[in-house]
Amino acid sequence: MCLAIPARVVELLPDEMARVSLDGVSKIISTALVDDLAIGDYVVLHVGYALTKIDEVEALATLELLREAAALGAAS
């Protein structure tokens, strides 16, 4: 039920709508729940609505943590 997926905003449309793309698959969604969207942003898409923006900096940080933990694991 809480299925949601990151999608990239490729076009901002009137009435708080946007076209998003997911590896070349595109769909028109509502962005009424998210402020200040720009083309290129990634949003978490749920039942046709953008729920939130994805924070690229945090994403990189999380991946970094993951790699560190894995490296530690490999070492262990």
Partner: protein, 375 residues
């Protein structure tokens, strides 16, 4: 897929799993509940349990809105759909959930009720606009993730002056259910939570504080990809080992401390708390669900059609309730795999792809066999 594939890397996963094995104290067991069905699904689909050491046990929580909806509410929806003037719009997830007397929305549809599967509340609004002679009722269910889209649909219906659109509201509150689980002393003690992913994008981290302060349980909010889950497990192991009980955020890329203010405001505008609401398996939980505010009464299908929920009894042999509380596992149910299969579900946990029984059926059965063989 960016922001997806990175979190499905088996190499990294094995590395972290080794780290978990290294850090977990071999002499003790760790019992974590992943609250969300989304986590349950990821764990099963990717075989995450195969990577974790034996002494880390994941307990599937009640975080599947389909699973926790009491049967009486499905009965209500079927009764609504059976009204000749009503077109019931629903997410497909609900179609096969068993209702009283062996029926379901799927069977009610086959019997002639006008039931349409929709992908989004926007589709339900479009139907109401296109078919002004039909009473379009949207069967609204879900946690805080799914509630803002319902709120926005009502806003839109109001703006479009639709007189034939209403919602049958079954939205429920995640923290209330987590609390109810902690207050049940039956079954396995839970030492920490893998906390909700997308619910938290909306509500943020603060609603979980009390689990740390009042119940001393660590919560790690985590994304729904398998690496997210594994990392959250590592973070939980560390908290336990260090004697901490903090609210941590593994899913920083999408979840902030305060959540989505706009979504929260939208929900607050349209909905208010019910005094109490029944959850399958957990019973009545105070202040755990939403209803429409009086000023939106015209959009409330319960008022519009005078819905009075009758108590409905689940199949007595179905262990869904205990499973949802984390007290039993699917393989503990006598009906599992015999009378109860995805084609002939006896309980809601066998229906939703996020349900524990369905997940175990679809992804986990062989593991049990292998263990049996091994023992």
């Amino acid at each position: 897929m960016k922001h997806v594939d990175e979190y499905r890397d088996g190499e990294l996963a094995r590395g972290i799993a080794r780290r978990i094995t290294a850090e977990a104290q071999p002499e003790r067991d760790y019992r974590f509940m992943e609250f969300c069905g989304g986590h349950t699904h990821a764990i099963s689909r990717y075989g995450v349990e195969d990577l974790l050491p034996e002494n880390i046990r994941m307990i599937h929580g009640p975080g599947c809105p389909v699973c926790v909806l009491p049967m009486g509410r499905i009965d209500d929806a079927i009764k609504l759909a059976a009204r000749p003037e009503v077109t019931l719009c629903t997410y497909a997830d609900l179609m096969r959930v068993p209702a009283s007397g062996g029926t379901s929305l799927m069977k009610a549809k086959a019997d002639g009720a006008d039931i349409r599967m929709v992908y989004s509340t926007l589709d339900a609004i479009a139907i109401a606009e296109k078919e002004p002679d039909r009473e379009v009722v949207f069967f609204a269910i879900g946690f805080e993730t799914t509630t803002p889209p319902t709120a926005l649909a009502i806003r839109l219906a109001q703006k479009k002056r639709l007189r034939n659109f209403s919602i049958f509201c079954n939205h429920v509150i995640t923290p209330a259910a987590m609390q109810a689980i902690l207050e049940t002393n039956e079954g396995v003690a839970i030492e920490g939570f893998v906390g909700p992913a997308h619910v938290s994008t909306v509500i943020g981290m603060s609603p979980y504080r009390r689990f740390a302060t009042d119940y001393h349980k660590p919560v790690v909010i985590a994304g729904f990809e398998p690496l997210d889950v594994i990392q959250a497990v590592l973070m939980l192991v560390r908290q336990i080992n260090e004697g901490r009980s903090d609210i941590e955020n593994q899913y920083r890329r999408a979840v902030t401390e305060t959540g989505n203010g706009r979504a929260i405001d939208e929900m607050a505008e349209i909905f208010e708390l019910r005094e109490s609401f029944e959850w399958r398996g957990l019973g009545e939980i105070p202040r755990s669900a939403l209803r429409l505010r009086e000023k939106y009464a015209q959009f409330d299908a319960e008022q519009r059609f005078g819905v009075v929920t009758s108590p409905a009894r689940d199949n007595p042999a179905c262990e869904c309730g205990a499973i949802l509380r984390g007290a039993k596992r699917p393989q503990d149910c006598k009906l599992f795999g015999t009378a109860c299969t995805p084609e002939t579900p006896m309980g809601s946990c066998m229906v939703s792809s996020e349900g524990s029984c369905a997940a175990h059926w679809a992804y986990g059965r062989f593991r049990q066999l292998e263990r049996r063989k091994a023992s």
